[in-house]
Symmetry: C2
């Protein structure tokens, strides 16, 4: 049933160059399985195997190939073949292919299209990248409200074969403006003499061609739709967007969020395809900014050099203390950024969030502080490494950990909200950014605790 | 068009207790908009407003409410009303509601169902949580291949009104086994006398009821489907799953990934709904583990206490150096965990990844190392803080940063792959975990560099 169960055999056929057996094997496969098989081949063999496919299959398979494989296969094709496939492709998949290609190649390929398809392709490419227009396909069924179901079904029978989906059909007025959507179910369950106007409800949801992809995702999620119509500023129906594109949009957004949270500018390509230089650039910017910020730690500690000289052992706990704050901050920032992205937390909730995080930070700080105190006190009891006032040193470490964890939790949770408040992306407050912020202040907290608790004994 | 444009007016009507006007206003709204409006009301008013809805709307609206609002509204309902809504709900939405409730409430509510719906609800709840069975709805159209299109359309007209979607219909054999799926388009574009067997292609994809949700998501993505059939171990057709559920599955997976990456065990509820104690517990475990691990930094530095005493200024650069490694590691780990989750990087790619990361780590380390060297050298030139051998101190810092960044990048990228290799979730290697690992080794790198470069001068 799942074609790829026999994947290994296929690879043998390719290795043996047994193309006739391969063609026969592919005949029963679904286009998605063939495409997956071709995508996994070495670059040099992808076009060879693709050319084995009969015309009836090749466009479908082509649509399922990933962007790299599409380009490789396309380059190896003759003009006639490329023209056939580009004309047959669904318009949204074609836009996705063309937007990956360099401008010159796009111009060349668009020349291969029929006048009608050329107009469609150019119109779609005119929408800004990342807008609903780019995801749209103009293949939809639109009917008039005075039609009967029989007329509607006849219309579908004539025009339905090129449609990506027929789950929903659209009702437009005499000027092409969208006035309703009807699920095909509503049509199929009624007597064929019923007029559309008799049962339509004027209750519909539409996207605008200039809406951002992310906003479209929200609408799909809210209304649980599989397909949504797209209209222009005059409410004219332009095309439809299907929910499978939304899975891609949602995945891209999550990827961007995760990369930003890790302190990397979002990559434009998959990790393996990104050129090394880009990979370094996207990381270097933040890394340098954080490094420069972190230099303040040396400055901050400079103020306490005198104390450090008198009690070098204080240096031993620096990494322990500042990393506890960094980790607590990283946790808080991950939780809050995600909760804000999901709409679970809004700006107006800041006070509730702050109270929750102060309470959490206090609990976590007390737990870690107690562990830190015990570690120093027990160690100090059995050795001389921390001197005779080891319990005071332990108390210093414990208090510093408590303060730093509380501060890290608070900074990590409030920073994303602050960024959103001033109009920036909350995800800019990456975990490393919070950690750096907490490191500098954490040192001040630690040495202040030391001065207060150890003056007159150790210091 | 979008009902919520008039949201503020609705809130006024509620405040004024003008229920008849409210009911009239809701009449034109889509169920999703009404549900959103009710969800945003204070808990005490949700049930009041819900009860205004006419029967025809109330089940639809109920299905769009979030889990909390559903429970509040349900509690306020009489038995008859609850029975009507639970019987009318689509089976998958009902399962989602029941799995949120305590066992006793589920038993009570299931008693309200008709014998037929009770059997369905119990069967679905018998599938393990997180499996495809829990997402399934048994409302599908199945036909026999010997039927004509006319017979098929007649069948749909009789049975189609309860179906969630009619985009695809299913062909089963005499024992109820799934033998094909057919898009409604294929039915609608052919003459009504055509038999199903004449055009069906045996090419279909199905899920098993015991498959994990995440695997189902993969199948939906690969085959670009809006609906997939679900079969049991004997290939009997049990129900269908729709792609809108996959948006939820994908979002949950991304949330879990982000929380784990931030060093938090995945929350089971939205951030704002999670009890404080759970919020603390989910964070405390990792925070304590990392804190204990980080104690090794004090141990590692203990070995170099002698050097520290001779040159206290070495302590000034500790946070700078270890945080550079932690940040580089956090970047690498975020990139790799996401790339692995998306299937862009597989275990077999480890060598290619390692080469890329060594190259990236070297570049990044050189950039930061140079900045670090310059900072110390320039500062040291104009002040006496780093002593007469300031350029050697600068070189130590520069080399340590280079080494630590390279090591952080390598550890951050290889750890997720190593975890996957030994069968663990790569996301266990959270950014804080990598940072802790790099902190301990980073100190050893730093002090080793210091001993090598400064012996005989500063040390």
């Amino acid at each position: 049933m799942l074609g790829n169960l026999i994947g290994p055999e296929i690879k043998e056929l390719i290795a043996e160059r047994n193309f006739s057996a391969l063609r026969a094997a592919f005949a029963d496969w679904s286009p998605a399985d063939i495409a997956e098989c071709i995508t996994e081949l070495p670059d040099g063999e992808q076009a060879v195997v693709f050319r084995l496919l009969p015309h009836a299959q090749s466009t479908d398979v082509f649509e399922y190939l990933d962007a790299d494989a599409q380009q490789i296969v396309l380059k190896a094709m003759g003009h006639a073949e490329a023209a056939r496939i580009l004309n047959d492709m669904s318009a949204d998949d074609r836009t996705a292919l063309l937007e990956e290609l360099p401008g010159a190649a796009v111009v060349q390929l668009i020349q291969l299209l029929s006048p009608e398809e050329k107009a469609i392709a150019q119109a779609l490419l005119n929408y800004p990248e990342g807008s609903v227009g780019r995801l749209m396909t103009p293949a939809f069924i639109s009917v008039r409200e005075e039609w009967t179901i029989q007329e509607t079904l006849d219309h579908i029978r004539t025009h339905g074969s090129e449609m990506e989906t027929l789950n929903v059909i659209y009702v437009t007025d005499e000027r092409g403006r969208l006035i309703d959507d009807i699920r095909i179910r509503e049509v199929l369950i009624r007597p064929v003499s019923t007029r559309i106007a008799e049962f339509r409800d004027s209750n519909f949801v539409a996207l605008r061609s200039t809406d951002a992809e992310g906003d479209a995702l929200e609408v799909f999620r809210k209304y649980d739709r599989n397909t949504l119509p797209v209209i222009d500023s005059e409410e004219k129906l332009l095309g439809i967007v299907t929910v499978d594109d939304m899975l891609d949009v949602q995945e891209e957004e999550a990827t961007e969020e995760i990369q930003k949270l890790g302190g990397v500018e979002a990559l434009e390509e998959p990790y393996m395809d990104a050129p090394l230089l880009e990979l370094v650039k996207k990381r270097a910017v933040w890394l340098v900014v954080l490094f420069l910020g972190e230099m303040l730690t040396a400055t901050a500690m400079g103020f306490f050099e005198h104390e450090l000289e008198r009690a070098v052992m204080l240096a031993l706990f620096i990494p322990l203390i500042i990393s506890a704050g960094g980790n607590a901050g990283s946790q808080a920032t991950s939780l809050l950024i995600r909760a804000m992205a999901l709409g679970e937390v809004r700006l107006g909730d800041w006070w509730r969030v702050m109270r929750r995080e102060i309470a959490s930070g206090l609990c976590l700080g007390l737990i870690l502080g107690l562990i830190g105190f015990s570690r120093v006190a027990i160690w100090g009891h059995f050795s001389t490494i921390y001197g005779p006032h080891y319990y005071l040193v332990g108390a210093t470490v414990g208090c510093a950990v408590l303060g730093v964890v509380l501060w890290g939790t608070l900074a990590g949770s409030m920073l994303p909200m602050l960024l959103r408040r001033i109009g920036l992306d909350p995800a800019t407050s990456s975990a490393p950014f919070v950690a750096t912020l907490v490191d500098v202040t954490g040192l001040v907290i630690y040495f202040t605790a030391a001065v207060l608790l150890l003056r007159g004994t150790v210091l």
